[in-house]
Amino acid sequence: MSAEMAIALGLAIPLFGMALMLLFGRWPNLRDTVMVLTAAGMFTTVLQLLPRVAAGERPSLHLFEMMPGLSIAFEVEPLGMVFAMVASGLWIVTSLYAIGYMRGAKEKNQTRFYAFFAIALFSALGIAFAQNMFTLFVFYEILSLSTYPLVAHKGNEEAKRGARVYIGLLLGTSIGFMLLAIIGTWWLTGTLDFTDGGIMAGHVGHGMGAVLLVLYMFGIGKAALMPFHRWLPSAMVAPTPVSALLHAVAVVKAGVFTVLKVSVYLFGLDYMKELVTTDWIMYVAAFTMIAASLVAIQQDNLKARLAYSTVSQLSYIVLGAMLVSQISAIGGGMHIVMHAFGKITLFFCAGAIYVATKKTEISQMDGLGRRMPFTMGAFLLGALCVIGAPPMGGLWSKWHLILGALDSGQQLMIAVFLISTLLNVAYLIPPVIRAFLRPPKDGYKGGIKEAPLLCVVPLSFTALAAFAMFFLAGPLRGLLGGMFPT
């Protein structure tokens, strides 16, 4: 398969799959089979690009020119490759899980749900492969809009309110700040192409550059920098597969991915070093990291706690970009992967618990380990990965991030990373302790009674994958090193 073909197919498959799912809406089994096949097809197509990108190539596809000089075009570079693999790979697992969850929880409008899910994946891939900021922005907005119906899925007052906050903040920041920054960049530099070493140096003065950086960083609302993080907890009203794939992986990672892209390929690390606001954003990210963790500790609702944890973890990656060293940027890229595996496991577990027991609060989870040992075991592995403890993949991304802080001489940030890790332990481990070490409050005496198999298998798989990443960190780092060709 030629590279252009692979890019085009990768984008076309989810759309085609969506059309088929709408067509087969009346036959749930057929529809769900189509969904799994679509996800698998998309992942294998994306994989076709891996050898080329690993070899240092940048396969590209020019679709069409929208306005003079502004094209919808794609180019696959290492970071985008990694993001595309994570999103499309985890879609397979999530679609299996979603079948189990949606049927187990007897959700309505499943066809609509799956159809918008496919569009969300389509746009995530568009973001991953975007050759320029304009293309990225277009897909970024499609992603916001296509996930709105997923968040509002239940249709009750709470879901509507959550979805309103969700779409309001995401559209508001992207239109209010990011679009302005993009147009400013275009006006000043005459290009929006992602270029090695950035496009700003020599075109944009440092004052203007500093303003643009702030506009970009807050404009990328999906990266959930405080004070624009509220949409993420609000989105937790969505069914759990959405929280798992979209709000732990695709949507939020699209945000931090954009942060990395903008930093590395628009600003360029050397230019960013000279901007006064880089440090400001770094402090904002550090604050978000700590503050969100502190909020997470106080949440009793499991999904809310995980959501705030995500807010905090996203700031690791933003911080990685703001440390402006190559190592920390690579560490940020690695964290996209590691956190994805860890957090999706945790969300899968939360959903499995809900399907099996209708429990949503951590205080209700006493003794749950006897009833759902696989789920809670996976929860432990996922938690360890997010914490960054060995033997999980999360260790390596934090390792690189801290190395990056050393590299750029930001000792304070090392302390922030360490404190945040301790806080991670403080909010992720108690549920596990409750589940395994305390007796059940409701006097549950029965044996093992897990969620449906289609829920338990995917979450075990992602937990094991998070473990496997401990050993696969080397190749991943090698691949991401391609972001900085010397």
């Binding site: 069409f64 003079p68 277009v138 809009l145 249709g155 309103r164 209010g176 679009l179 147009i183």
Partner: protein, 492 residues
């Protein structure tokens, strides 16, 4: 034949209008005849645009009386583009009209209705095509009187009052225009626009000419509903029959904007309008207020049709803002928005027309849960709404992009920020409707509603898809708009 195209453009609908009255007893036949005329007019407009595309100017002397003595029709890319918008919208609205008008207008009035429609159409086309100042006034009156009749045929009795209101305001507007034209004639002895442009510089330092300028500016601003002269518009749009709202919202204010551009740039010249007279400083604050306040008012409307009417006032503000930059880029944005907004708003009002057809009204609370029963209609509404907001891959985004560039180009950073902030207001008022239509339960006592008939859906979707198409494939409108802007900046 080809050389008589400019005349045909107006004569076709103008002559067809009285002929329809022979068909009073056969409403369907009247409709079919009107449709045929509308499409023929559209074809003529397309041919005209093709002829002037390369930058040529067609001058057509009526009755062989050479300009500046006779009435001249003068077509360049600027008004060919406007003609295409008017003729295109009236062609697309006709298939939609049959069912919609049949339901909303009494059967014995349908032929009269179409007759008035063709007159309004002829009037608007005439305004755009003519190169004669007095002729502009005449066509303004033709289109306006026909529009009063069209609006008054709305089912709601408030349509009468709205129409009367529009009549008063419209008459003041055209009277002012006439006074302005009269002053200019007094000073130069000519009514031909090109001739005026040539002769005005000698006398332009006189109070008379400045007064003429002021009368024309205010008169035309009334017609184009520039804030705060927009008060006639919301009621007129709300209570008019659906088809009329679609047609007027997409064309009537646009033509008035064209006239403003013609006078400011071609007749008086940019240097006079924006250099000696501070029109940029007059228009800009009005445009900004005109964007902000109606957008906020729109959020609080309970009738969706009325909400969109206020949104139309705001959109006029965007177009005027582009003009007030007095740069080629700003004009490009404005010309582009004439086109993009015509498509978008027509699609939105058509979707509402389909809803009126099925449930008899557009009050927000009556639309609860309607998306389940009318999925295609509401999907088209959502697409139109996204374009109105200016989401990427819709026509509205292209306009916004150009308008923002124009603002940066003129060094107005704060206005760029303002534009983005106000587009969020559009998010709010569109989203209110989306939420009610999609996520609220249908009231238990509500009658069963079915999807609108295909005859209503097809034109609606044509426009909805067009507003996506022109958000992706922008070569045609962008080229037309930037050529038109260059011509306007270059003087007559």
């Amino acid at each position: 034949m080809i050389e008589h195209l400019p005349a045909l453009q107006v004569v076709l609908p103008l002559l067809a209008a009285p002929l329809i009255l022979f068909l009073v007893r056969w409403p369907t036949l009247a409709w079919a005849f009107t449709t045929a005329v509308a499409w023929a007019t559209f074809l003529v407009a397309a041919l005209l645009l093709e002829q002037v595309w390369g930058g040529a100017v067609i001058s057509y002397a009526h009755g062989g009386w050479e300009p500046p003595w006779g009435i001249e029709y003068r077509v360049d890319t600027v008004n060919a583009f406007v003609l295409l918008i008017i003729a295109g919208i009236s062609a697309i609205v006709m298939p939609f009209a049959r069912d919609s008008v049949e339901q909303e207008v009494a059967p014995d009035r349908i032929a009269w209705f179409y007759s008035a429609f063709l007159l309004a159409n002829a009037g608007l086309l005439g305004i755009a095509i003519t190169g004669d100042a007095f002729n502009i006034f005449v066509f303004f009156e033709i289109s306006a009187i026909a529009s009063y009749a069209l609006i008054a045929m709305g089912r709601d009795r408030r349509a009468l009052l709205s129409s009367f209101n529009y009549l008063i305001m419209g008459t003041i507007g055209t009277t002012f225009l006439l006074i302005g034209i009269g002053f200019m004639y007094m000073m130069t002895g000519t009514l031909n626009l090109a001739d005026l442009a040539e002769r005005l510089p000698e006398v332009r330092d006189t109070t008379t000419i400045r007064a003429a300028f002021a009368f024309i500016a205010v008169g035309v601003s009334l017609k184009l509903a520039l804030f705060p002269l927009h008060l006639w518009l919301p009621n007129a749009y709300t209570y008019a029959p659906s088809m009329v709202t679609v047609f007027l919202s997409a064309t009537a204010t646009k033509v008035a904007i064209y006239v403003l551009l013609r006078f400011f740039y071609s007749v008086f010249g940019a240097e006079f309008s924006f250099g000696e007279l501070p029109m940029d400083h007059v228009l800009m604050p009005l445009a900004l207020l005109g964007i902000l306040l109606p957008s906020i008012v729109a959020i609080f409307q309970d009738d969706v049709k009325r909400m969109l009417a206020y949104s139309s006032v705001a959109q006029v503000g965007y177009i005027i803002l582009g003009i007030s930059f007095a740069t080629t880029l700003g004009l490009t944005a404005s010309m582009l928005h004439l086109f993009n907004h015509a498509i978008t708003k027509a699609a939105l009002f058509m979707a509402l027309g389909a809803i009126v057809y099925q449930i008899g009204g557009t009050q927000l609370n009556r639309m609860a849960g309607i998306a389940r029963d009318m999925p295609w209609t509401m999907a088209a509404f959502v697409i139109g709404g996204l374009s109105l907001i200016g989401v990427p891959l819709t026509a509205g985004f292209i306009t916004k992009w150009y308008l923002l560039l124009a603002a940066l180009d003129s060094g107005y950073w704060p206005i760029a920020v303002f534009l983005l902030a106000t587009s969020l207001l559009a998010v709010i008022y569109i989203w209110r409707v989306v939420e009610v239509a999609y996520f609220r339960e249908r009231p238990a006592d509500a009658p069963v509603v079915r999807e609108a008939p295909l005859a209503l859906l097809l034109p609606t979707w044509t426009l909805a898809l067009a507003s996506i198409l022109f958000g992706i494939y922008t070569a045609l409108p962008v080229a037309a708009a930037s050529r038109a802007a260059a011509i306007l900046m270059g003087g007559y």
